[in-house]
């Protein structure tokens, strides 16, 4: 026997010496010496079950063969992975697996990328002796979700689907029914699932048992052309491989080992690809004509712009470009606005003010460079704040669940309503919508109880300690005990990660509170990481590129003379007849600005409104000129995800019909409005970015497939943004007793997703969610139709009772077609008050 050195165990695999730490599995130890052991049921991130027996190996001195995927190595082990016994055992396992397998490869979607096929090819025997009658679990494939269809006769019982649903997705809607050869992994009574439709079960299925319904019988994997892109539906930045056949994108797939998301993806990423081939795409430039539009040529469009532009003055021009465009286009957009059009008025959103965004950037220290999500979730405490993570950034939800569930971290959630991740959390707190700042203030007071000196120094930077903890807690809708418990968790942690979401941007100026919490925790010696959690694919990039009224590229602060209007300001100017020209790319202002009536009125008063869009949005309907643009799957460029990771986009197709790449359109407009603007010829836009945005210096945008790198810290200060005034919270009245909160839905995020027919099929009916107490008080039942009314608007929804949402709160998701929820809002209001009637 050999002696262990350096705390490592020494063993032999196929005659090769291996040194690995205690606890390493045989399977992993074998990889160290390039010995591959075949597996089915093993999946690195799922619990080991050792059931398929493909990986059984021979260990000297042990009578039975042992599964490599769940057996830890021991010092001095001698393992054979290719002995005659092992090879024949493997062969027999494949013979067993095939015995009741449907063997209908010619009609199976999985054929060509099937693990069972590959395994039989490499380890199986030519001929099976099985001559009995096969067991058939069902005759026809059956549908368990609008996107999932199932054929259990192909199942190899690896149970990855059940495990991924429980351990990663956190839904647990799949289980095994039946026993022995009649065992089947399926949904309750094989019925349609009330599930996240994320399709993770499809992704992990080694065979053609779980299949994508929209992809069914559409293609063979070897006929597919692929392009590696980034999912456009939130700022998590999942790598997705888009695949097309004969000019139609047929699936979006997460590949193992590609991107930080690896094989993880949510419903939006996996099934929202069909917007690319939607027949609702805009394909021709359109000019307003009467109540409708008429098709015109691109040169006519440019001619119109040229003529109209000449009538405008710089301070009465403005532009909004959505944060779902790549960095290159956003960078060029601000250059176009500031230099070619000569106006400082520009923004990347219509959902919050420029100053609020600034305060959020400052609080989340976005100028300090990138972070990694895996490092962050491995902190002592993971603190989810102001984000509906489970619905807005599902893949982050998966990662947080998976890491914190295995006991390594403490998970705390602070949110105004229930979310799926609550089930995994060690502590979940519900605060009153719009009162996050008070909550954080109370929390800091709890953290500094008995430390007057520390408190005093925080007061110097703006903490208010005049109000008592009890009073603040009451206003924030939490109990003092809850706060103390949370404060204790934070005190006991050395490393803390705060995942800070967009509620901070939308619901109130919680950014100030977040900044104070940061200072308070840092003063206590905690190692703190704050991660912005955002909902638009390139929001971080948009800010970094300088698409912000008071920040230039690289967060460089502008002087007061250089600052312009944010989108809010531009709309107010427009309403007053002070906006001659607005150039809007991809942002549905009418659909998203929190007061639809005001936004529509303001847009109709813009002198000349150019809307560059891919679909006919409500904003486009108000346009004088519509220019058809391109989607993420149609262009090159880079996205910077919420934590600062820069990733490449590759096009899978060209824009449809006469639609063009947005960058090219902007280039033409630049030349039109400013002759010779394009002559100095910045052909390498990324190079231009690197010249003025230092945090992108180390990014390699030529890198294909892999990461381009993570943004680095810049020495600019965003402190000035903390001087924003706090908005008053909403106080419910007798007539309107409920606070309305809005946000992204699991199947919808941003207006683009609402054009996906597949995502649309997942949730046809718009729902309003309330907690059980509210429902009880109003005598309402789950699933019934209700009316939600604010002072100025009424609409009907289906009621959903979600356990864990506190009394007095209603949630309705944004981006339902035909349910313009921003009609509930009045300008200046962050939390509309509503009532529910049946």
């Amino acid at each position: 026997m050999v002696e262990a050195v350096d705390d490592k165990l020494i063993l032999e695999i196929d005659g090769k010496e291996v040194r690995v730490p205690f606890g390493t599995l045989i399977l992993d130890a074998a990889k160290e010496v390039d010995v591959t052991i075949p597996t089915f049921c093993y999946q690195a991130r799922l619990s080991g079950i050792g059931s398929c027996r493909m990986c059984i190996v021979e260990i000297e001195g042990q009578k039975k063969l042992q599964p490599a995927c769940i057996t830890p190595v021991m010092d001095g082990m001698k393992i054979a992975t290719n002995s005659e016994t092992v090879v024949s055992a493997r062969r027999s396992m494949l013979e067993f697996l095939l015995s009741n397998h449907a063997k209908d490869c010619p009609v199976c979607d999985k054929a060509g990328e099937c693990e069972l096929q590959d395994m039989v090819y490499s380890h199986g025997q030519r001929k099976s002796k099985f001559e009995e009658k096969k067991i058939s679990l069902h005759v026809k494939d059956y549908i368990i979700s609008p996107v999932i269809i199932k054929n259990s006769n192909r199942c190899v019982q690896c149970v990855r689907c059940v495990r991924v649903c429980r351990e990663v997705v956190g839904r647990g809607v799949l289980g095994s029914v039946g026993r022995g050869a009649y065992q089947e992994e399926t949904s309750f009574r094989k019925g349609e699932l009330d599930c996240d439709s994320c399709g993770m079960c499809i992704e992990v299925c080694p065979v053609g048992c779980f299949m994508r319904l929209p992809y069914r019988y559409k293609a063979r994997p070897w006929d597919l052309k692929s392009a590696i892109s980034v999912c456009p539906y939130c700022a998590t930045g999942c790598k997705t491989t888009l695949q097309e056949r004969d000019g139609e994108v047929v699936r979006s797939i997460a590949f193992k080992g590609l991107g930080f998301n690896d094989w993880l993806m949510c419903a939006r990423g996996r099934f929202g690809y069909d917007i690319l081939n939607s027949d609702k795409r805009l394909t021709k430039p359109l000019r307003k004509k009467g109540d409708g539009f008429e098709e015109i040529s691109w040169s006519e469009a440019m001619g119109m712009i040229s003529a109209e532009f000449a009538k405008t003055s710089p301070e009465k021009r403005g532009g909004v470009a959505t944060a779902s465009l790549p960095n290159e286009e956003l960078f060029f957009f601000q250059k176009l606005m500031r230099e070619a059009m000569g106006t400082p008025n520009l923004d990347s959103t219509s959902r919050w003010s420029g100053d609020t965004a600034g305060a959020y950037m400052a609080a989340t220290a976005i100028n300090e460079g990138g972070r990694t999500i895996y490092k962050a979730v491995n902190s002592d405490t993971v603190f989810v704040l102001g984000t509906q993570l489970s619905e807005e950034n599902p893949v982050i939800d998966y990662i947080v669940r998976h890491v914190t569930d295995s006991g390594r971290s403490n998970l705390v959630i602070v949110s105004p309503r229930a979310m799926k991740l609550d089930a995994t959390a060690h502590q979940s707190l519900r605060h009153t919508p719009g009162e996050l700042a008070k909550f954080l203030n109370a929390l800091i007071l709890c953290l500094y109880e008995g430390d007057a000196g520390g408190l005093a120094s925080l007061e110097e930077v703006g903490l208010s300690s005049k109000v008592s903890i009890a009073e603040l807690a009451k206003l924030a809708g939490v109990t003092v005990d809850e706060l103390r418990q949370l404060s204790m968790r934070l005190k006991r942690s050395e490393t803390i990660s705060i995942l800070a979401g967009t509620d901070i941007l939308k619901l109130d100026q919680g950014a100030r509170g977040l900044r104070l919490l940061k200072l308070a925790l840092e003063a206590m010696g905690k190692r703190l990481r704050i991660l912005p959690i955002l909902d638009r694919a390139n929001q971080r990039g948009a800010w970094g590129m300088g698409v912000h009224p008071s920040l230039g590229p690289g967060f460089s602060p502008l002087s007061d003379d250089e600052k312009g209007l944010d989108c809010y300001g531009m709309l107010e100017a427009a309403a007053a007849g002070e906006m001659d020209l607005m150039y809007v790319i991809g942002e549905d202002i009418a659909g998203m600005y929190p007061d639809r009536a005001f936004a529509e009125d303001a847009l109709s008063k813009v002198g000349f409104l150019i809307v560059q869009e891919t679909f006919m949005t409500d904003t486009a309907l108000k346009a004088d000129l519509i220019l058809p643009g391109a989607l993420a799957g149609e262009k090159t460029g880079t996205f910077t995800n919420q934590v600062g990771r820069v990733q490449n986009l590759a096009p899978i197709q060209s824009p449809p019909g006469g639609a063009r790449i947005d960058l090219d359109i902007m280039g033409d407009i630049a030349s039109t409005v400013s002759k010779g603007f394009m002559d100095d010829g910045c052909t390498d836009i990324f190079g231009c970015i690197q010249k003025v945005v230092p945090s992108y210096l180390n990014i390699d945008n030529k890198s294909t497939g892999k990461d381009c790198g993570s943004v680095i810290s810049t020495d600019v200060s965003l402190e000035a943004f903390f001087n924003v005034a706090e908005s008053p919270g909403a106080v419910p009245t007798e007539e309107y007793p409920l606070r309305l909160i809005t946000g992204n839905h699991l199947f919808y995020s941003g207006n683009l997703s609402s054009y996906s027919d597949i995502l649309g099929s997942l949730l046809k009916e718009p729902v309003a969610e309330v907690g059980p107490e509210t429902a009880k008080a109003l005598g309402l039942e789950d699933g019934q139709n209700i009316n939600v009314a604010s002072e100025g608007y009424l609409d009907s929804f289906r009621l959903k009772i979600s356990k864990g949402t506190p009394a007095g709160v209603v949630f309705i998701a944004e981006n339902y077609e035909d349910k313009p929820i921003n009609r509930f809002f009045k300008r200046g209001e962050t939390i509309p008050l509503v009532k529910i009637t049946s």
């Binding site: 080991g48 079950i49 050792g50 059931s51 398929c52 027996r53 493909m54 059984i56 009578k63 039975k64 063969l65 769940i70 055992a89 027999s92 396992m93 013979e95 067993f96 697996l97 015995s99 009741n100 002796k129 099985f130 001559e131 009995e132 009658k133 067991i135 190899v156 019982q157 289980g175 095994s176 039946g178 026993r179 022995g180 050869a181 009649y182 065992q183």
Partner: protein, 424 residues
């Protein structure tokens, strides 16, 4: 064969399941005695007695208890395995239905020994009557202070729960049993960790069979020497044999470990039914490979049975006379295993049903040349490669049959009918 009954001491009394009857026979005095003993002494006493688990594996009970960590802050559990699923076994049932307090007392003593205050009786779903009796007995014991807080004025407290199974043989496997109690699908867990370190709810857990636990009060009362001196040195004590099949007087018999098969069949049970000829015997439930005439004088104990290539198992003695067709027998046994295969691992799930399909064809006269060899090949491909012993059990049963009666299988294939005449 007259022996003093320890395990079946009470069963013939009227109202034997009542606490009063049990107390009249000196019940719960052994618990009192045990509570006065130190925990280590108690474990040592059971170790010294040589008691080996009566569920089938024959693991030394005292040794199992001694694996439980001593840390008092850790929750520990005792789970009584009353799943009694092995075909041919019906010994636990008589204790449960006729003398439930013997089991409760045994469990209380065991819990004291391992310092556990929570215990479960996992009873097979079909034992509805038994479960009712147990519930009543537990209620009585609570009322009289033999369960609950501060038992007999000591600081020992114990709660006991009856957990009914749902009809799966696999749940008699200890880790599947734990999964089932926890509310999951009954499938075996990987070992290690063994239940003694991470069992029910991840906490140290002892799992003992009903009969093992019922032996405990007797050991306290009569001492470890008395127990150790009964029967063979390495597997001593009284044993319940469940005799069934072609036998004149089937039933449950309490006999000293080491009684021979011949004694059981001919002296205790009155011989083969209707004076027919003995053909084979399964000594310990259908998993145990069958024995033939020449093995009948072997001592029925764990080690001797293992040496003879079989196992004592649960002590379910199934006797077969010369009218028995071994193909049909194998088919029935194998069908049981494929029906009960939990579906977790590949060789058991796919292999047992494959074997059953071949045996069914043979039995129906549709055997094909090569079928016997195919069965042997499948046995080789399953054995030693399954997750838990269920698949191995199926193979052992079939191999045992093929070892002694291969010619019957060949005959079935060649002639499409039984070799034996006149019968079953």
């Amino acid at each position: 064969m007259a022996v003093e009954k320890i395990l079946l001491h009470n069963v013939d009394k009227p109202n034997s399941h009542k606490l009063d009857t049990y107390l009249a026979g000196g019940g719960y005095e052994d618990l009192r005695k045990a509570l006065a003993m130190g925990r280590d002494d108690l474990v040592q006493l059971v170790k010294d007695s040589g008691l080996r688990g009566r569920g089938g594996a024959g693991f030394p009970a005292g040794l199992k208890w001694s694996f439980i960590p001593k840390d008092p802050s850790l929750q520990k559990y005792l789970c009584c395995n009353a799943d009694e699923g092995e075909p041919g076994t019906f010994k636990d049932r008589i204790i449960i239905e006729k003398d439930p307090h013997l089991l409760i007392e045994g469990m209380a003593i065991t819990c004291h020994a391992i310092n556990s205050d929570k215990s479960y009786i996992y009873i097979r779903g079909e034992f509805e009557y038994g479960a009712q009796i147990l519930e009543q007995a537990i209620e009585e014991a609570y009322e009289k202070g033999y369960l609950g807080k501060n038992i007999m004025g000591t600081d020992f407290s114990l709660d006991m729960y009856v957990h009914r199974g749902y009809g799966a043989y696999i749940c008699g496997e200890e880790t599947a049993l734990l999964e089932s109690i926890e509310g999951y699908r009954g499938q075996p867990r990987k070992k290690p960790p063994f239940p003694a370190l991470a069992g029910l709810n991840g906490k140290p857990t002892v799992i003992n069979n009903v009969e093992s636990l019922a032996c405990i009060p007797g050991i306290i009362r009569k001492g470890s020497k008395w127990f150790a001196n009964m029967g063979p040195e390495k597997s001593p004590g009284p044993k319940l044999f469940c005799v069934s099949g072609h036998i004149e007087k089937p039933g449950v018999y309490e006999l000293p470990m080491g009684t021979t098969g011949r004694e059981i069949i001919y002296e205790v049970c009155g011989g083969i039914k209707a004076g027919r000829k003995f053909k084979a015997v399964i000594p310990g439930g259908v998993t145990a490979p069958m024995l033939v005439e020449k093995d009948l004088d072997l001592s029925m104990d764990f080690d001797t049975m293992a040496q003879a290539g079989s196992m004592l198992g649960s002590g379910a003695v199934i006797v077969m006379d010369d009218t028995t067709c071994m193909v049909r027998t194998s088919y029935i046994i194998n069908r049981f295993f494929s029906h009960e295969s939990c579906g977790k691992c590949t060789p058991c799930r796919e292999g047992t049903i494959w074997m059953t399909q071949i045996l069914e064809r043979m039995e129906n006269g549709e055997g094909r040349p090569g079928d016997v060899e195919e069965l042997e090949r499948l046995c080789d491909n399953i054995f030693g490669r399954t997750f838990c012993p269920l698949g191995d059990g199926a193979v052992m049963a079939l191999r045992g049959c093929l070892k002694h009666f291969r010619e019957e299988f060949v005959y079935h294939v060649e002639n499409g009918r039984c070799m034996v005449k006149g019968g079953f």
